[in-house]
């Protein structure tokens, strides 16, 4: 009796769910309680909008979160959901996915949840490549506990717990994910819903742990942390959108590009005719070394410097590699095939017995 048969036996006797969903079908009856203007609203909307497109029945979708503002998310989705404990959503999702590989599982986490208290589980989820989608809402602050700096907050951040500025070195979520051998590493932002929607769908279609960092504005405790990327005026200069097979181009009039000078990325201008698109870095999301370089485009050099790197958005890295949950079940199936379904009486009996009369 395989695991699937057992599950089938018990539950697949009901009528299949209606698949003609709209975004509204994924909205639960609960009032959404984030602060007015919170970036979480857009993300919720885009996830609900993406759901009808992923082709999965509602009853087969599970949202799992840890603790933090973002962690309320599952309550607002009309799917199965669990709002668990701080930092452990990745571990809970791993157990669920291994035991029910057919489910579409979405982990909703934040910068504190993933990279402080849950850093260990996040690391191991990524390296195991459990086939779940992982949305990391990064707002560089602890919102739920009212305004302490988070592990992604830049050094010097003034917060409730760092009145003289933080002296922590910030963690770079995408470098972390690549370092942990994450098989899908991408970035989006709340204020570009169309791109966010694309990234959610890309994450869903990737087999393995799909790690999507989403820059999310905390309007109360860290307003404007990502304004230079989200403001339509500064975005062209501060952000570069990655497209597979396309050159890295940015600037107000798409006049700038990034060129690799050996292993050193350099900003070049295409205005004076010295460089053209053909000289630029062509994005290849299968190239891990370059993906890592892209993840290091992080506030360097200072604004105003002509070689200032824009922040990349899009899929930095995507590779196909085996998923833990699939392999666990493959191994089990192999053992069952080789040995047959275990006989409980033989197991209880053991190898050597004796009879007392």
């Amino acid at each position: 009796m395989s695991l699937e048969t057992i599950i089938d036996l018990h539950i697949k006797n009901g009528a299949p769910g209606d698949m003609n969903y709209t975004g509204k079908d994924f909205s639960s009856d609960q009032d959404v309680r984030w602060c007015p203007g919170c970036g979480d609203y857009t993300i919720l909307k885009q996830v609900q909008t993406a759901m009808p497109e992923i082709g999965v029945k509602k009853e087969d979708i599970v949202f799992i979160s840890g603790i933090g503002c973002a962690a309320r998310f599952p309550y607002y989705m009309d799917t199965f959901g669990m709002h668990s404990i701080h930092g452990r959503a990745a571990a809970i999702a791993t157990g669920l996915k291994i035991s029910r590989p057919e489910l579409s599982i979405w982990v909703i986490s934040g910068d504190g949840d993933s990279l402080s208290i849950g850093g260990n589980h996040f690391l191991h989820l990524l390296r195991r490549n459990v086939n779940v989608n992982y949305l990391l809402f990064n707002n560089q602050v602890y919102g739920l506990t009212k305004g302490q700096y988070s592990p992604t907050a830049p050094s010097g951040s003034v917060s409730k717990s760092t009145p003289y500025g933080s002296i922590d070195h910030a963690v770079n979520p995408l470098s972390f994910a690549l370092g942990a051998d994450g098989s899908f590493v991408a970035r989006a932002m709340d204020r570009d819903p169309k791109h966010l929607n694309q990234m959610i769908l890309r994450a869903n279609s990737h087999r393995g742990t799909s790690m999507l960092e989403i820059y999310q504005n905390c309007i109360v405790f860290n307003d404007g942390a990502f304004e230079r990327f989200t403001d339509k005026k500064t975005r062209p200069v501060e952000a570069v959108y990655l497209e597979q097979g396309e050159p890295l181009i940015f600037g107000e009039k798409n006049e700038k590009g990034i060129r690799l000078d050996g292993l050193v990325p350099k900003v070049v201008s295409m205005k004076n005719g010295e460089f053209s698109k053909d000289d630029l870095w062509i994005h290849d999301e299968k190239d891990k070394t370059k993906a890592y370089m892209l993840s290091r485009f992080f506030d360097q050099p200072e604004p105003g410097d002509e070689n200032r790197m824009p922040r990349p958005f899009g899929v930095l890295f995507a590779e196909e590699r085996f998923c833990y949950d699939e392999e666990v079940n493959r191994q089990i199936a192999g053992v069952v095939e080789r040995k047959g379904v275990g006989n409980l009486d033989e197991l209880l009996r053991g190898r050597e017995t004796w009879i007392v009369k």
């Binding site: 199965f80 791993t94 004796w354």
Partner: protein, 618 residues
């Protein structure tokens, strides 16, 4: 010299040697042969904490004690009658456990200058020669040399020859106790199928050991231990951890659901992970998690998906799991937490036994988060306790703690194994699919036992959310309403209390249902207390024994039983934990007998303590 054969009711033998001397195997083989001979038997292996402590030193000593007899045997024995020592360190580490007048069988090669120095006796202070062992019968055998001679023509390597010297000792002991060699010979043939020359070598040494006893004149006596009067039926030998594994697998099978086991290695629980990971064709999935928290969390995730979620650990790991167990209390999911207790606090003494985590299981979480607690009494009883823990977790949608300990985990006994057809059915209640019903699905609607249904993903029409925030009574929606929190707090307690309706009533294990004193125990102290009480009864004391398996909730009639005795005495391998719960629940002036030495109670010390308490009263 005429060798006399003496009849003994029971015998305790302790094999001790260096970690590499194969003492655990020697002990296990003697155990199997003895069990097959129809004796009752209990064993207690003791390993060093260090995996490969320096050879020849006291920290590197590994030992295996076994107690067998023609009468009921409930403990691995207080002091041993025979101590086998393969080197001087083994003697140093174990001499205090040999009774005065007992036999020491010493491998003299292990008492050379090098070994005497390593054991810190000093090379000029050989205990075999300095008269310090005059209270004992010392039998010197040069096992190392005799083994080498036995295999001089075998062509085996020095290393292989060296490694078979434990078989010489085993053969010698088989001769002393009139045991047949066949079971061991077939074991060796099976183990070394691919290396028949090693099998033959070991068998030759085994036989030579046996013949050495027969032909030399160093032994004045052999011993016969007749068959025990134990219940008819088919038996196997089993350790506590093995039985725990079987209990879990059987319960999942009886509920027709998968078993998910998330664990992180820790002594003395790891064997459960090892054993379960080999049972993939029994509907078992094992997950070696990155840490204790992930282990329990993964089990909760799997339980949400319709598996029996199980996690295992020992004290330090259980502490790490506490928050997640609280989540499972809130979510109302079936979760079994196996705590194979060891001596604490902190890292404590990993390889030593203790039962000091009862209050941790009872209260060791934030908020009021009651759970069910079950404790096995003997290695074989681990099967029933693990089965019951799983059954209650599934049928009541609740976390259940299973409190075994190092002594039960590694100890073994003959076990009259059950058959599947005799096992209870485990009733799984998955919420069925819904199709267009008007009423919304209520995830926390309850039946008369206050149990919700198991609403698992994949079931159409019952999509719902659960979480660790306080929830509204039936909808499961987040609620901060004061009355609701009072209601839910009461309800979580009542849910546990109601389980008392479906567990067996407490029985008196030994003695009458009233009298001067009752000894109340739980967990692995069962054998010591039972033996002590029975001996005290023979000596004319009015004492009884009650052993509690269901520690939360208690059986309904427990208070009534305790009230029938003038004194309630609670022996525990801790500083007094059950005794607090009994006083608190039943207002009885219970007294504790407490020991925290990392070793089980000796029967004699228990008897002595009970006598003291009884005499104080007069």
């Amino acid at each position: 010299m005429q060798v006399k054969d003496q009849v003994r009711d029971d015998v305790t033998i302790r094999f001790a040697g260096d970690s590499g001397d194969g003492m655990q195997l020697t002990g296990s083989l003697f155990t199997n042969t003895t069990a097959l001979q129809g004796n009752d038997i209990r064993t207690l292996p003791e390993f060093p904490a260090e995996i490969r402590a320096p050879i020849g030193t006291v920290p590197g000593v590994s030992s295996f004690q076994l107690h067998f007899g023609s009468k009921e045997i409930m403990t691995p024995g207080d002091e041993c009658d025979v101590l086998v020592v393969m080197n001087s360190a083994a003697l140093k580490a174990n001499l205090s456990l040999l009774r005065k007048g007992g036999i020491i069988i010493a491998n003299t090669s292990g008492f050379d200058k090098k070994n005497l120095n390593l054991a810190k006796y000093g090379e000029d202070n050989n205990p075999l020669e300095n008269g310090s062992l005059s209270d004992y019968i010392v039998i010197e055998v040069d096992v190392t040399r005799l083994t080498k001679e036995s295999l001089s023509d075998s062509g085996l390597s020095y290393k292989d020859i060296e490694r078979s010297k434990n078989m010489f000792v085993l053969g010698l002991l088989y001769w002393m106790y009139n045991r047949p060699l066949d079971s061991t010979i077939s074991f060796l043939n099976q183990k070394f199928t691919k290396k028949p020359e090693i099998a033959q070598g070991n068998i030759k040494v085994l036989k030579d050991g046996y013949h050495y006893g027969e032909t030399t004149e160093v032994f004045a006596e052999t011993y016969t231990v007749k068959k025990a009067q134990i219940g008819a039926g088919e038996y196997r030998s089993i350790t506590g951890n093995e039985a725990t594994v079987l209990g879990l697998v059987a319960a999942a099978r009886q509920g027709n659901i998968p078993l998910f086991f998330g664990s992180y290695p820790i002594t003395p629980a790891s064997d459960i992970l090892h054993e379960l990971s080999a049972l993939k064709n029994f509907g078992v999935t094992t997950f070696q998690a990155e840490d204790e928290i992930a282990a329990v969390s993964s089990a909760i995730g799997a339980a949400f998906g319709g598996s029996l979620g199980v996690t295992s650990s020992s004290g330090p790991g259980i502490a790490l799991k506490a928050e997640a167990v609280g989540l499972a209390v809130m979510l109302e999911l079936p979760l079994v937490i196996l705590n194979i207790q060891r001596a604490g606090p902190s890292t404590g003494m990993p390889t030593k036994t203790e039962q000091s985590d009862l209050l941790q299981a009872m209260y060791g979480r934030n908020g009021e988060s009651p759970v069910v607690i079950i404790a096995p009494a003997t290695p074989g009883d681990c099967f029933d306790a693990a089965f019951e823990a799983s059954r209650i977790a599934i049928e009541h949608m609740i976390p259940v703690y299973f409190l075994s300990d190092g002594y039960l985990a590694n100890g073994s006994e003959p076990w009259k194994f059950p058959q599947q057809k005799g096992l209870k059915k485990v009733n799984v209640r998955f919420e069925p699919a819904r199709n267009g019903e008007d009423n919304p699905f209520l995830p926390y609607a309850r039946d008369e036992r206050l149990v919700r249904s198991w609403a698992i993903p994949g079931t159409p029409g019952i999509e719902h959310r659960v979480g660790g925030l306080e929830k509204e009574a039936e909808t499961g929606n987040v609620s901060y309403d004061p009355d609701n929190h009072q209601l839910m707090t009461n309800l979580r307690k009542e849910r546990v209390d109601k389980i008392a309706d479906s567990i067996p009533l407490q029985q008196v294990d030994s003695g009458k249902d009233h009298g001067d004193a009752v000894l109340v125990g739980w967990g692995s102290t069962y054998g010591s207390i039972r033996t002590a009480v029975r001996e005290l009864m023979v000596e004319g004391y009015s004492v009884s024994h009650v052993h509690i398996k269901y520690l939360n909730p208690f059986p309904k009639n427990l208070g009534e039983i305790l009230n029938n005795f003038d004194q309630v005495i609670v022996p525990e391998m801790n500083s007094g934990q059950l005794v607090k719960l009994l006083r608190d629940t039943f207002f009885v002036p219970a007294k504790g007998i407490n020991k925290v030495k990392g070793r089980p109670f000796f029967v004699d010390e228990l008897k002595q303590e009970v006598k003291t308490i009884l005499s104080e009263k007069v």
